[in-house]
Amino acid sequence: MSYILILFLVILAIFLRFVIGVELRSILTIYLLGLIVYLFSFTVAEMPPFGRPDNPAFNEVPARYLEAGPSETGAINIISSVITDYRAFDTLGEATVLFVAIAAAVATLKSHRY
């Protein structure tokens, strides 16, 4: 099966190079990109299906957040309690990213003086 595929790709490359006249560099680029797409889709196909109850994402952590969230943080919005209490340090990093981004943008685009 794979021999046939490789044979097909080689024949296609020879056809593209000598009959149509595509540069060898472009053919190699397209083949490399195709290989990357193949590997990525292979990885995606190995991922667990969406929303199944025995997925690895449904472990004890979200159960704890959902059950003990309102009593531990006092917020009935569970997302808010996760991003600003349980994982507040992550949100601080997010705010730091925003801060650095705007500082870089102002330093680059600055057209006024304070």
Binding site: T84, D85, F99, S111
Partner: protein, 151 residues
């Protein structure tokens, strides 16, 4: 920038409501969907709308560059200081209940301790970030280096 009467009057009418809605989303971040990031984006969008439909000067009149940069740094600083207060009260960095912030009754407006404070600071920061970024992008640079608004 747009010389259109309909756009100007509509945005002048709509902008206060957008701002009130943004403040509502920020302040109810612990009760309803939303929070600092989305509410700040809504509030910043209203200022961008004013600057787009009138001109940059009208937008800068709402919130000046100086104020925007102070609010921006203040939002980030307030976030970190809230975490440091938690350390001073005897918890970990950015701890909430463990540091002894008053949680209140879940579901009430004044509840959830540090979450509300952090949400407000994040909202201030995001709103001023969007405004500052937009002002800086649409400003034109003159050959002498002074600022001049884009028409």
């Amino acid at each position: 920038m747009l010389e259109d009467q309909i756009v100007r009057i509509t945005s002048r009418l709509v902008a206060p409501f957008i701002q009130v809605y943004g403040i509502y989303v920020i302040l109810h971040g612990h009760l309803s969907p939303g929070g600092g990031f989305s509410g700040g984006a809504i509030f910043g969008a209203s200022l961008v709308l004013i600057a787009l439909s009138f001109n940059l000067e009208a937008g800068v009149k709402q919130i000046s560059h100086q104020t925007a940069s102070v609010l921006e740094s203040g939002g980030a600083l307030g976030f970190t200081v809230t975490g440091l207060i938690a350390i001073a009260l005897g918890g970990n960095y950015l701890a909430n209940r463990a540091a002894g912030f008053p949680l209140g009754e879940a579901g009430q407006f004044f509840s959830s301790g540090a979450i509300m404070v952090i949400t407000v600071f994040v909202g201030i920061k995001v709103a001023s970030t969007i405004t500052t970024l937009f002002y800086n992008i649409i400003e034109k640079e003159t050959p002498h280096g002074n600022s001049k608004q884009a028409d």
